[in-house]
Subunit: 311 residues, 2 copies
């Protein structure tokens, strides 16, 4: 299943010079919501950078809004563009597994980003975020910042392994800190659900010292409910994923949004860069790269703020 | 503990221009044995490549033959060269942990290669081989190639977590194949110990169909014993780590050395390239990159053969 990154040469007729150029295909979900929008922004930025740095290399970037279209995009890249390497963030795992396995079998280097396939060992390189680290990094901030006995409420995402890993990391970091989780419920990564959940908690708990929302969309909903209840001065809210608005509040030292935790959409840049490096540098690039979450603070927020990004 | 890769600018006096060049320090064990020799070869090759590609960047490469010297090398890199990033393969984990933690705390990006530190969370990037995959890749070849009831002997390394992980991967891959492990013992990653062990097994077992030596040095010892016993035609030997002599035999389709499994010393190139990419490309490079072992076959052996490498 493993392809080795080697320049493919195609003799174009008897007297033609071997074509040394290599083509990298990139297939990602369309910008239907915030994180995917930023994914598109970073993919385009990186392709522009690499195309300039590698004039001999060609890039094909496609976006898709359903799994069926992604399958035909991929087949098209192989059939008409003869790609040497593919960087793909699968729209869904199940329907993409077979088609991507066939592409890998044909000798094309395959890099899978973030959303794993339904079967192990197909891709050459896997680049993904670290959900345990995402929760743990937030939890460590709570444990270090809050006093013993402090009251915290937790908004989980949609029930899933991603959500379980994030919450397990958060809880592990709180252990022994004396910080108390007063309530925990699913906000389903949804702004409106989070707003309603926070309203309920605000009416039930006279003391809330901090909110952990395991995604920035939920943090936006929680912040709106807190603002409406006039309790902004009482607590802080930590979301996650590095939404532009949150990073902007952090760099302006807004006390209710003191920090954030990355789950960077720019991981698509990492995946494209590593794939191209494998094609050009001859260093081993096959394996699993799990990108750690970083704490965004007022000190480093500038490095995480992308003026032109939609997210 | 996490540093963010950003160009550091130092104003050299009131009217001086900010110094935009960045310095990367690399500290690795001296070439005292085969694998470390190849490590040095690949580190030098990559530094030469990157120095040419990044004229503004400086590289300091030091080699060391004891932990104390490595500590002073690192302190020197920080004090006199003002490194922005460090790529280090620790000679030993314990004595290097404190000094590397202090360097990371001072804001220098730290990439640790292969040998982990004694404490988690110090380095920004960890690049290492995959011992489970190393054993599993060999085991899969045995399971696919040998018939049910085939007799296999296994040479383990020095008792350690590395050895346990390799053997567990090998055994997991054999499960259900009907291939039988007739004997398993520690050859301690040593050529002479492996020679004696193989001699003993050859005298005890009339049928041996294949040998798995969990390192190429042991495979060399096993091959010598098999040759001396005149039983070369009866079995094949699979070692691991991609020693030059083994890769040469594979590309020449020697039936007793049909394949090999990588644990690439060129991972130092991966680590240096990713560190420099973090400095230059602005893509997230913080996390754990575990490099998969690959199966070296007659078809792809050329890609793993480095004429000028000592190993």
């Amino acid at each position: 299943m493993k392809a080795t990154l080697v320049a493919t040469t195609a003799l174009l007729g008897l007297t033609a010079v071997p074509a040394l150029s290599q083509t990298v295909g990139i297939s990602i979900p369309a910008a239907t919501h915030g994180w995917a929008g930023a994914l598109n922004f970073h993919a385009e930025r990186t392709v522009a950078r690499l195309a300039e740095a590698n004039p001999d290399m060609e890039f094909v970037l496609t976006t898709t809004s359903d799994p069926g279209q992604q399958v035909s995009d991929l087949e098209d890249m192989v059939a008409t563009r003869g790609i040497d390497a593919l960087v793909v963030l699968p729209f869904e795992s199940e329907p993409l597994t077979g088609p991507i396995a066939r592409i890998a079998d044909s000798g094309v280097w395959v890099t899978v980003v973030d959303r794993g396939l339904a079967q192990e060992g197909i891709e050459d390189l896997y680049v993904a975020g670290d959900n345990d680290s995402f929760g743990r990094t937030a939890g460590q901030y709570f444990a270090e910042t809050l006093d013993e006995g402090a009251q915290v409420v937790v908004m989980r995402g949609i029930a899933s392994t991603v959500d379980n890993e994030r919450v397990a990391g958060f809880e592990a970091a709180l252990e022994g800190s004396g910080v108390e989780v007063a309530a925990m419920d699913h906000g389903n990564w949804n702004r409106d659900t989070a707003f309603n959940l926070m309203q309920d908690w605000l009416s039930r708990f006279p003391e809330i010292d901090a909110v952990w929302a395991a995604d920035d969309d939920m943090a936006v909903g929680a912040l709106a409910a807190i603002d409406q209840a006039g309790r902004t001065g009482e607590m802080f809210v930590v979301g996650g994923a590095g939404m532009k608005e949150m990073v902007d509040r952090i760099r302006n030292s807004d006390p209710i949004v003191p920090v954030n935790v990355t789950y960077p959409p720019s991981m698509i840049s990492t995946a494209i860069e590593m794939t191209v490096l494998g094609l050009t540098a001859g260093a081993p690039m096959s394996g699993d790269f799990i990108i750690a979450s970083e704490l965004i603070t007022p000190e480093n927020a500038e490095n995480f703020y992308f003026e032109d990004s939609p997210y």
